[in-house]
């Protein structure tokens, strides 16, 4: 059931710790320094994130997590996204950990997740592109994995991959230590560390693989999308606020440019897009609680399409209204724009979202 109650105390607390973290570690100059590290280096503040309990946030208590709802985690993810963190928090916290917590029985999940939630082992879901999935073939008691993930955020920092492999028409989830994969590290446009991860005939004992994980994978994918949408909604919100501020300060032709009617209407539209983004990310987070997976998926896809569209429009106007300053690397706006570009294009974009929306009955 969809309900738009205001955030509860836990939500606000978690969000406040994220705000403090960003203020402490992500001033632009500090962040630029981090970007000079090699792409394969471990993320700077991972230990602190673990200590703050963040890595365990949306994992059920039985699996060793804090049991926060998606709705409670959204504002927190928004702050981290707008804060431009470089740690692979989305892929681990919103994707890998909650997927495993659902795919495994809770005792096994707790055991598998313990080092992840403690920040000792960065582990990621590794799925191939839709048109080129990773394949698992049986050879005796072994599974042999072949395929690759061209772009995996955090891939160069991971200790292990949970490979989504297609085997005889159904997906399996198979853990592969990073050492057994071929990992080519690089940075993506917004400065995050990523990798092309390839599995060239990697062998694992068949009984290790987790079967019957479709539901967990679907849930995890939807939750990861909600995490990404939370980051985007945060970025949209911050771009809106910084642009509005700039419109009030910047003077041209003897008055603040925010007094020009054309600017006013453009800002009104940006406000509308920000409000819609806020609404849709909450709607998607609320939908995650539904048992009706088609309903859940439909609402998550709707939020994806709307927020991607609004993000692109806000990007264009935020840069344009900042004028020359908008195209430099000297204000946060330029950096936010690159992260926003990345987040809206990691998957098939609005068209893929729209097709899934259509398919969800």
């Amino acid at each position: 059931m969809i309900d738009f109650k205001l955030p509860d105390e836990e939500t606000l607390l978690l969000k406040a710790t994220a705000e403090r973290f960003i203020a402490d570690h992500y001033e632009l100059a500090l962040r630029n320094e981090m970007l000079t590290a090699s792409a394969g280096q471990l993320p700077a503040h991972w230990g602190e994130m673990a200590e703050l309990g963040w890595l365990a946030a949306p994992v059920s208590e039985e699996a060793g997590g804090l049991g926060l709802t998606p709705r409670q985690v959204v504002p927190f993810m928004s702050v981290l996204g707008a804060g431009l963190v470089l740690e692979p928090i989305g892929p681990v916290v919103m994707h890998c950990a909650p997927t495993l917590a659902r795919a495994l029985p809770s005792d096994k999940a707790a055991a598998a997740l313990a080092p992840v939630l403690a920040g000792e082992s960065i582990e990621l879901i590794a799925a191939g592109p839709a048109n080129a999935p990773i394949r698992a073939t049986r050879e005796g008691d072994d599974l042999v994995l072949t395929g690759s993930v061209p772009l995996l955020i955090g891939g160069a920092q991971a200790a292990a991959f949970w490979v989504v492999a297609e085997c005889e028409g159904a997906p399996l989830l198979v853990r592969v230590p990073a050492g057994e994969a071929s990992v080519e590290a690089y940075r993506v446009v917004d400065g995050q560390s990523a990798a092309r991860v390839s599995f060239k005939g990697v062998r694992r004992a068949a009984p290790e693989a987790i079967a019957g994980c479709e539901e967990a994978l679907a849930y995890g994918n939807d939750l990861a999308m909600v995490g990404k949408l939370a980051e985007l909604a945060g970025l949209i919100d911050r771009l809106y606020r910084e642009t509005l501020e700039y419109m009030k300060l910047r003077e041209q032709f003897g008055r603040p440019i925010g007094r020009f009617q054309v600017i006013q209407h453009r800002m009104a539209d940006m406000f509308i897009k920000r409000e819609e983004a806020q609404s849709m990310v909450f709607l998607a987070a609320e939908a995650m609680a539904s048992d009706d997976t088609a309903f859940r998926s439909k609402l998550v896809c709707a939020a994806q399409v709307k927020i991607y569209d609004n993000a692109r429009a806000v990007l264009r106007d935020a840069v344009q209204l900042h004028g020359g300053m908008g195209v430099t690397d000297e204000l946060p706006v330029g950096h936010m724009v690159k992260r926003l570009l990345l987040l809206t294009r990691l998957d098939g974009g609005r068209m893929a979202g729209l097709r899934r929306f259509r398919a969800a009955a």
Binding site: M1, I2, D3, F4, K5, L6, L244, M247, K248, G258, R259, Q261, I263, Q264, H265, M267, A268, D269, F271, I272, E275, E276, Q278, S279, M280, F282, L283, F295, K298, L299, A302, V305, K306, L354, F357, R358
Partner: protein
């Protein structure tokens, strides 16, 4: 499209509405609404009687004045279901405009005299705000009231007066003090349309209908007891009006009904699968979800005690943009099948009203504060750009 409000309680409430409507709505009315045809006075008044009998005619009125006592959530659901079931949307001049104003600002005798007749449909009200010289600059209105014994003599003209041909009362903004700042010399008066000095000229609209009128007032006598609230405070009351039922201005129920109708037309014409049509309709469905979700979020904030002001202008802007876009997609689907004049031998179902609805609904972004005005309100009052 997907119902966002679907808890067991929501579902039961929907069921209750469906059941009542099924037993009450006249099939002719239902057919006209479902096809987007112009509605008759009979369609409205017959349906108002049904709703009044059930106590549902004024969802947002306080219970003591005859409202059903629904929560905001229930009002949204009721609106959605009523549209879905093709009930005619009752004109809001009595129920959503002067009624609430009298409840908030009217004298006790005014409330007792007029409210029951608004609920029952015995009185049909129209609105005398706009003037042909004023447009969006409403406060520059020129209709004047001059003091006379025990009341006022009102002269001037009003325009865009919807359904004035059916109305027996009009509530007007008139200038009672020409010497002060333009917003400060305006009063609100209730005028019996059968009085001498009141006359009417229908305005033919672009879609061929004559639903709006010009109203001429020539020395019309208005006794003091038909002035609303205080003299020279009319502007305040008119502004309060804009805030009444402000969460309804997104027109979500209306948009959903229209979307359903366009989807049916796309299916019927075999064009639902064309990527351009499918993408446009899915995108609009998502747009509707976004304003519904925003409405719910803002309502939740209000219920939690957060002050929400002019933010609701965004619902008007987006709602009307969506509805106009839907009428345009309908034309895209129809192609030449929509081009015959209404009621001519060339009409082709289900497109017989498509062009006229497209044309008629151009007004949505013009009236009730044009979308340009709404954006300026957002920029100045919410964003603080001034």
């Amino acid at each position: 499209m997907t119902d966002l409000l679907n808890s067991p309680g929501d579902q039961a409430f929907r069921e209750e509405i469906r059941e009542y409507v099924a037993g009450e709505l006249h099939p002719d009315t239902r057919a006209r609404v479902s096809r987007g045809a112009p509605l008759t006075r009979e369609d409205f008044s017959r349906w108002q009687k049904s709703l009044h009998a059930k106590g549902w005619v004024a969802p947002a009125w306080p219970k003591e004045h005859g409202g059903p006592g629904w929560t905001a959530r229930q009002r949204i659901i009721a609106d959605e279901e009523m549209f879905r079931l093709h009930t005619p949307p009752l004109p809001g001049f009595g129920l959503k405009m002067i009624g609430p104003i009298l409840i908030q600002f009217g004298a006790l005798e005014q409330q007792q005299r007029f409210l029951p007749r608004i609920l029952s449909g015995e009185d049909w009200w129209c609105q005398g705000f706009s003037e042909s010289g004023a447009g969006s600059d409403l406060a520059s209105l020129k209709t004047r009231a001059v003091r006379t014994d025990g009341g006022w003599l009102v002269s001037g003209s009003k325009t865009w007066t919807t359904y004035a041909q059916y109305a027996n009362w009009i509530f007007c903004l008139v200038r009672t003090d020409p010497d002060v700042k333009k917003q400060e010399g305006i009063s609100m008066m209730l005028i019996d349309m059968s009085l001498p000095g009141v006359s009417r000229r229908p305005i033919r609209l672009i879609d061929g209908t004559e639903e709006v009128n010009e109203i001429f007032l020539d020395q019309v006598y208005v006794p003091d007891d038909l002035v609303v609230g205080e003299i020279n405070k009319g502007w305040t009351y008119a502004k309060a009006l804009l805030e009444h039922e402000r969460f309804g201005i997104g027109g979500i129920g209306r948009s959903k009904q229209l979307l359903a109708r366009v989807r049916e037309a796309a299916d019927a014409s075999g064009r639902a699968g064309e990527p351009e049509i499918a993408n446009a309709l899915d995108t609009l469905e998502i747009d509707i979800m976004a304003i519904e979700a925003t409405t719910l979020r803002l309502l939740a904030a209000v219920e939690a005690g957060v002050k929400i002001g002019a933010e609701t202008s965004l619902l008007k802007v987006r709602g009307t943009e969506i509805q106009q876009a839907l009428t345009e997609v309908m034309l895209d689907i129809a192609g030449p099948a929509a081009l015959a004049a209404r009621d001519s031998a060339g009409v082709q179902e289900p497109f017989e009203n498509a062009v006229y609805q497209f044309l008629n609904w151009r007004k949505l972004s013009i009236y009730g504060g044009s979308n340009e005005i709404q954006r300026s309100i957002l920029a100045t009052q919410v964003l603080g750009l001034k």
